[in-house]
């Protein structure tokens, strides 16, 4: 009987997420009325709660661990708190952004409970703390009028933080990413990404084609990127570089800046390939993972075994072997999702991420103030680039760069910084809505 339940629920989860994803894009259609939109968002919320109930049900029936039920209760409380804040306190918040944040977190809680319930619990606690902190952000964004004047504060904090990591950071999987402070391990670069966007926006919003300002911005951005390369955080370097180029291109309206920047990035990648052994290993593992399955290709091979064996409908929760992938709960969480919940489910997840950044860019486009416009654009680019690097890396579409999937991967810094990012976007959206009225 249990077998039958799990079997049916497997398809139920896929159908729920497919329905949710369809609603994401249906709501973005032009010419849709507000009532229709609200109905779609309501349907999304219903899908999300059903997903949590069914998935936790399977998790409980598979383990009979009471902790799963405790988690379910806490998750419900968390999501109700989110909707209280973003539907009732900030009445003008974007329901699309709120729903996507909740859905991604729900998927994260479920897969982490499956992989390691203690980590899922920690993640949920950090999500709760982050929610408490970030619920003030939309309010602050509206009230703090001097954010565009802190240009060099952002740059100084960013460079200092990255420098500290490069010197004193602890190494994991060949890259220096984190600092240990009082027993907690934090990844400064996750937060510096946001500061960096603020720095670039503050520098460029009124720069026009002012050469000197562009030169300073470029020098500071280059310094960030070089420090990340020094820490061997290639994924991070890619995110900072692309974010800067996109912001520079949009604010100057000069396509040649983008093209020259991308060309320099490409040359840099080729140089890195010839200079650094670890880069060559990554590329080799990408070209033919099975040929180096015992070495550099181990992670990616096991990721692909998981995705391939899971197939379109997945093995079902607890039926696969995602724990065979090293650091599966962080960089390779997508592979675990694809293996156990199915390729269709994972594809929906990709499209939810797409709808997220489309919404971010859409919000950015509608903001009139150039400073805030650039911030929304920069944060959207950070999100899109990071998502692309991680999803592309674990599916062997591009060489793996070791970055996390925002909101889904395990990791306190990544989770908190992404929730801050979403809250800033909400703040900008609320501001635009209230301006417009």
């Amino acid at each position: 009987m249990l077998h039958l339940l799990i079997f049916i629920s497997r398809f139920a989860l896929v159908i729920l997420l497919a329905f949710y994803t369809y609603s994401c894009f249906a709501a973005l259609r032009s010419g849709i009325s507000e009532e229709q939109q609200d109905f779609l968002y309501f349907r999304q919320t219903a899908c999300m709660y059903m997903f949590i109930l069914i998935a936790n049900g399977i998790l409980y029936l598979s383990t009979f661990e009471e902790q799963v039920l405790v988690m379910l209760g806490m998750e419900m409380a968390f999501f109700i708190a989110v909707s209280l804040i973003y539907k009732h306190i900030y009445r003008n918040a974007s329901l699309s952004v709120t729903n996507n944040m909740c859905m991604l977190l729900a998927i994260s809680f479920i897969i982490l409970t499956r992989l390691d319930i203690d980590k899922a619990y920690k993640q949920l606690v950090i999500a709760g703390i982050s929610l408490a902190i970030t619920c003030l952000i939309p309010f602050l964004v509206k009230k703090l009028k001097f954010l565009n004047r802190l240009t060099y504060v952002y740059a100084a904090v960013g460079i200092l933080g990255l420098g500290l990591v490069a010197v004193a950071g602890s190494t994991s999987y060949g890259a220096k990413l984190s600092l240990s402070i009082g027993g907690f391990s934090i990844q400064p670069s996750e937060f510096i990404k946001i500061l960096f966007v603020f720095f670039v926006a503050a520098m460029l919003y009124d720069a026009g084609n002012d050469r000197r300002k562009i030169e300073i911005a470029t020098a500071v951005a280059g310094l960030h990127v070089l420090m990340l390369i020094a820490s061997r955080d290639l994924g991070g370097a890619g995110i900072f570089l692309l974010t800067y180029l996109v912001m520079l291109y949009v604010s100057t309206q000069e396509p040649r800046f983008l093209l020259i920047g991308l060309a320099l990035g490409a040359v840099g990648m080729v140089c890195a390939y010839f200079l650094f052994g670890h880069v060559r290993n990554r590329v080799m593992a990408w070209k033919n993972p099975l040929s180096v399955v015992d070495g550099a290709g181990y992670q990616i091979s096991h990721s692909l075994f998981a995705i391939g064996t899971g197939g379109w409908f997945g093995s079902g929760l607890y039926q696969g072997m995602p724990e065979k992938i090293p650091v599966v709960e962080k960089d390779f969480v997508f592979s675990a999702i694809s293996e156990e919940l199915g390729g269709v489910f994972a594809l929906c997840l990709i499209f939810i991420c797409i709808s997220c950044f489309l919404m971010f860019f859409n919000i950015a486009m509608q903001i009139h103030d150039r400073f805030y416009k650039l911030i929304a654009l920069g944060l959207g680019t950070v999100y899109a680039t990071q998502t692309f690097l991680t999803l592309g890396g674990v599916t062997k579409f591009i060489p793996s760069t070791g970055v996390t999937l925002p909101l889904v991967s395990y990791g306190g810094s990544s989770l908190m910084s992404t929730m801050i990012l979403f809250a800033i976007i909400q703040g900008l959206y609320v501001m635009r809505e209230e301006d417009g009225q």
């Binding site: 077998h3 039958l4 079997f7 919003y205 009124d206 026009g208 084609n209 002012d210 996109v246 291109y249 949009v250 604010s251 309206q253 099975l290 399955v293 091979s301 692909l304 075994f305 998981a306 995705i307 391939g308 064996t309 197939g311 379109w312 696969g320 072997m321 065979k324 694809s338 390729g343 994972a346 594809l347 990709i350 499209f351 991420c353 797409i354 950044f357 489309l358 860019f361 950015a364 486009m365 009139h368 103030d369 150039r370 400073f371 416009k373 654009l377 680019t381 899109a384 692309f388 999803l391 592309g392 599916t395 062997k396 579409f397 301006d435």
Partner: protein, 476 residues
């Protein structure tokens, strides 16, 4: 806020065009990635699923009934019987005959059972059937692996080898597909588990698949290489030689088989008569490193290109060889050791215009309804011989049949080519392995074979008649 907007200098129109470019750029990247993901899950993932490094496969047997192994004509070579309690018993209806090529699925696995383990544990049953099975908590039926094995040819070979120990392989030169493979002594795979400790504790070689793991001195079949090197170094087919029944250089004397005196003959005739004296003399004249390069090109000392597992390498070395060893090596004695499948591959490349196709036994997999799941296409390894070499070798190997030791293969119904061999393997000159390596063609149909019968005596007397039986059966 409105104020700041007015202040911003030199606004050139709306910057929403740039936004559109950035948005569509990212959208394109993500759509390509989603497309790749669909391609991977739907198609490319198969290579990863079937990888022996994939730890998930060991779990599959809990949900899937191991599929059948079939001969090319559908004859069941291995199947699983399932009782009411879902316990599986592996059954081999053909018993000893296919013991080595089909192998066994317990005790560490061997043969096709090992090679196709992953395919046998995948189920592509119709999905409704799968759902019904899931609901009744029954296992799904694994896919059947259809091999390229020809039952008539295998029957003829198995009977023809009689009680000799040894091995024989037949390949389709154009595809590399294995048509038959027999190794004796054999065993009954149905009782392998019961007899396992007996086989392993007594040090018996019964479990050794001699066709791919037996390392034999090649005897005169190696003269194919010696002759090719001689001709490549400027020798000619018409070069005149004289055989007095033996050839001596330094303190080594090489005898012709049974001390036969072959008398005056040209090089082609010496090849056809398998004259050891002439080949010992020729061997001394050859460039050692040239010979080593040829051996390397023909895959000696290298892992053979094939999907079959546990295939042994052939070995060849002329390093620090004195003249005696050089002479013995030239006639296929020396330190050279070959596996029968390797010799069959060399013959198949000559038959296939110099191109070697990688040997394989899996033709396709099908689900329990007989619907094709995946076809395993022939894999081209590359060119072993160039066009002129193929011409020379065909001419000489044909001459063996028309005028030499392979005359029992002469018939009007097909054209046979080959080289016999009599390989001494100990100091006891009376004991020798009987070899035949060659191929035959009839219109577009081709077959390449390698046969070795241990302690049977001369190649022309024992291995050649068996080759005749195989060709007759195949072209019937």
């Amino acid at each position: 806020m409105r104020k700041r907007r007015q202040e911003s200098p030199r606004r050139r129109g709306s910057i929403n065009r740039e936004f559109a470019i950035v948005t569509y750029g990212f959208l394109l990247l993500f759509l390509c990635m989603a497309g790749y993901f669909i391609y991977f899950v739907g198609y490319a993932g198969e290579d990863f699923i079937d990888s022996p490094y994939n730890p998930r496969l060991s779990q599959l047997s809990e949900h899937i009934i191991r599929g059948d192994i079939l001969a090319a004509d559908g004859t069941v070579l291995a199947t699983s019987e399932v009782d009411d309690a879902q316990n599986e018993t592996r059954v081999y209806p053909k018993g000893n005959e296919y013991a080595h090529i089909v192998g066994f699925s317990s005790n560490g696995m061997s043969g096709t059972e090992l090679d196709a383990n992953f395919q046998l544990l995948r189920s592509h049953s119709f999905f409704i059937e799968k759902i019904i099975n899931e609901l009744q908590e029954r296992k799904n039926q694994g896919d059947a692996v259809v091999t390229s094995l020809d039952t008539a040819l295998t029957d003829a070979l198995y009977v023809g080898m009689a009680n000799y120990e040894g091995a024989a392989v037949a390949l389709d030169p154009e595809t590399g597909k294995i048509l038959a493979m027999v190794s004796k002594p054999d065993f009954d795979p149905n009782t392998i588990a019961q007899n396992w400790s007996y086989y392993t504790e007594t040090g018996s070689s019964v479990l050794l698949n001699r066709a791919i793991q037996g390392q034999y001195p090649p005897g005169s079949t190696f003269k194919i290489l010696t002759a090719l090197e001689y001709l490549n170094e400027g020798g000619g087919m018409e070069d005149a030689f004289n055989c007095s029944g033996s050839y001596t250089y330094g303190d080594t004397t090489i005898h012709c088989y049974h001390n036969t005196v072959h008398g005056a003959q040209n090089f082609e005739e010496a090849f056809a008569h398998s004259c050891n004296s002439v080949f010992a003399e020729v061997g001394l004249s050859l460039d050692k490193s040239g010979m080593a390069r040829l051996a390397k090109r023909l895959l000696f000392n290298r892992t053979l290109p094939t999907e079959l597992k546990n295939v042994k390498k052939s070995s060849f070395s002329l390093k620090d060889a004195d003249s005696g060893l050089v002479m013995r090596t030239a006639i296929g004695q020396g330190n050279t050791l070959v596996t029968p499948i390797h010799m069959a591959m060399i013959a198949s490349a000559i038959a296939n215009d110099g191109v070697l196709m990688e040997p394989s036994v899996i033709d396709h997999t099908q689900n329990d309804g007989g619907t094709l799941v995946r076809r395993y296409h022939p894999v081209r390894y590359g060119e072993l011989f160039d066009e002129s070499e193929v011409g020379i070798l065909r001419e000489m190997m044909r001459y063996v049949v028309t005028n030499g030791t392979g005359s029992k293969l002469y018939t009007d119904s097909y054209t046979a080519y080959g080289k016999t061999g009599t390989a001494e393997f100990s100091d006891n000159k009376s004991e020798a392995h009987s070899w035949f390596v060659g191929f035959a063609e009839q219109d577009e149909k081709k077959i390449a074979v390698a046969i070795v019968l241990e302690r049977a005596g001369s190649g022309s007397e024992h291995a050649v008649p068996l080759a005749r039986t195989m060709f007759d059966t195949y072209f019937r």
